[in-house]
């Protein structure tokens, strides 16, 4: 893809770099890069990529410009407040560089559309503000074999890492699971306006390196930045063989929204009918955990079961021996299923529960079992 006279003039400072030169600039012109999230990170990233001459730049965002965005999102002007971000972003980027094509995607990225959106791009930048979307983008990039430059910010601190298929850790290797509730919310916590400028510019740098083949991308390296200390730190991140998406035996093989995935994780629960429970009772690794209240437990219980009321379970999970196969019991099967969910979140593999609870047990196996 050769350069026009106007392009040779526009990109003269790149052409003057022997490492980039005409060949590198032509690669940029032929490249398709997707910026997900036209926010604090996406603004500077998209502007630098447009200026650098990335031939096709996709922008994904479903929001409208708000006045409070302008403190850091340099893509937008005061007159843009209220406009769809993709409209305002495309207009601004096209003004910056009319030689390139801008593709707006005014949509919320979900499992149902993520594949169609990213599959036509060669490099993906994640600048979103939701963890669930970060995992969705990561999973899609792993499955489609797309390089991903992922950055995130909080108050005065930022992080960035690059995933390259088959060559390093993915976002789930870095953080196997994260819930929004466990991680402070940026809108409430605040953010120094210039902070995403630093991280977004790093994302753009990584994308340009990936396209041109220059330098050493942040593959398997987490770079952190602290604006108050004005310090960068770099940490190695190993690919995890047990990673749920890029590991040797991935459990995530289809794209699902993260909120749905939490529900789906209950598929790992072993649901035992009373007859099936009776069959496995003799297994030495089985531990029966009755999650009813103590007074219910005193009235009637299964032999060798231990009592941990459901409310106490989060802080008493360690009473279940490591390596054991816990089977949770309750009156009707509702609390025991909730116990399984807690156990799964705590990393206990394949917990079981008695479907229909002890009521079903009394009905089908032992009518003499006294229940409240």
């Amino acid at each position: 893809m050769s350069l026009s006279a106007a392009e040779r003039d526009r990109y003269q400072r790149h052409l003057a770099l022997a490492e980039v030169g005409a060949a590198g600039q032509e690669r940029l012109k032929a490249a398709r890069v997707l910026v997900i999230g036209a926010g604090g990170l996406g603004s500077p990233a998209a502007m630098y990529l447009a200026a650098a001459g990335v031939g096709t730049l996709g922008i994904v965002d479903c929001d409208r410009v708000e006045l409070s965005n302008l403190q850091r999102q340099l893509l937008f002007a005061s007159a843009d407040v209220g406009r769809p971000k993709t409209d305002a972003a495309c207009e601004r980027l096209q003004q910056l560089n009319p030689e390139i094509a801008i593709e707006p995607h005014a949509l919320e990225l979900r499992a149902a559309n993520v594949r169609a959106v990213i599959e036509d791009y060669a490099v993906i930048l994640d600048g979103t503000d939701r963890l669930a979307t970060r995992y969705l983008i990561n999973d899609a990039c792993v499955m489609l074999g797309k390089p991903l430059v992922s950055a995130a910010i909080h108050r005065f601190e930022g992080q960035v890492m690059t995933y390259f298929p088959g060559r390093g850790a993915c976002y789930r290797c870095l953080y196997p699971q994260a819930l929004e509730a466990a991680v402070a919310n940026c809108a409430e916590a605040g953010v120094l306006g210039v902070l995403p400028g630093v991280l977004g510019a790093i994302q753009a740098t990584e994308a340009i390196k990936l396209v041109t083949g220059l330098g050493e991308p942040l593959i398997g390296r987490l770079l952190t930045y602290d604006a108050l200390e004005m310090s960068f730190h770099e940490f190695p991140v190993e690919r995890r063989a047990a990673c749920a998406v890029c590991g040797e035996r991935p459990s995530i093989t289809t794209l699902l929204d993260e909120d749905a995935r939490c529900a789906v994780s209950l598929e790992r629960v072993r649901r035992l009918a009373p007859g099936a429970l009776r069959e496995v009772l003799a297994a030495p690794s089985v531990v029966l955990v009755d999650v009813r209240e103590p007074h219910e437990f005193e009235t009637g219980r299964l032999k060798d079961s231990i009592n941990i009321p459901i409310g106490d379970l989060p802080r008493r999970l360690e009473e279940i021996p490591r390596g054991a196969l816990p089977i949770f019991l309750c009156r009707s099967g509702r609390r025991s299923l909730a116990a399984c969910e807690l156990a799964l979140r705590a990393g206990i593999e394949a917990p079981g529960h008695l479907e229909g609870g002890l009521l079903a047990w009394a009905r089908e196996i032992d009518p003499t079992l006294p229940l409240d």
């Binding site: 995130a152 992080q159 953080y175 994260a178 466990a182 987490l222 200390e229 730190h233």
Partner: protein, 98 residues
């Protein structure tokens, strides 16, 4: 002093606190804590800043999946990891902001 760094010098080891956990340390990015292993350092950290350990370590003594702990640049997977007297423990937390 307007530009004084918020560093607590008490304690032999330096711990760098992830941004989302600095509410526990009065905003300090670096604090001191005693201990020859990560388990001891985190226990001392929790004595100084009650509740901070539980944000990183779960009821089964496992590092939470949205947290990464490093001693210098060594990723820590076990709380028995030794921490040298001049070494820094880095607490890193998943961030969601964009």
């Amino acid at each position: 002093m307007p530009f004084e760094r918020k560093v607590t010098t008490a304690g032999a080891r330096t711990v760098r606190i992830a941004s989302p956990l600095r509410s526990y340390t009065g905003g300090a990015a670096k604090v001191g804590a005693d201990g020859a292993t990560l388990r001891e350092v985190l226990a001392d950290l929790d004595r100084r800043f009650p509740g901070i350990r539980f944000r990183m370590i779960d009821e089964q003594d496992a590092i939470r999946p949205h947290i990464r702990l490093y001693v210098e640049t060594r990723e820590v997977k076990s709380l028995s990891e030794p921490v040298g007297s001049r070494e820094t423990v880095h607490i890193i937390c998943a961030l969601s902001g964009g």
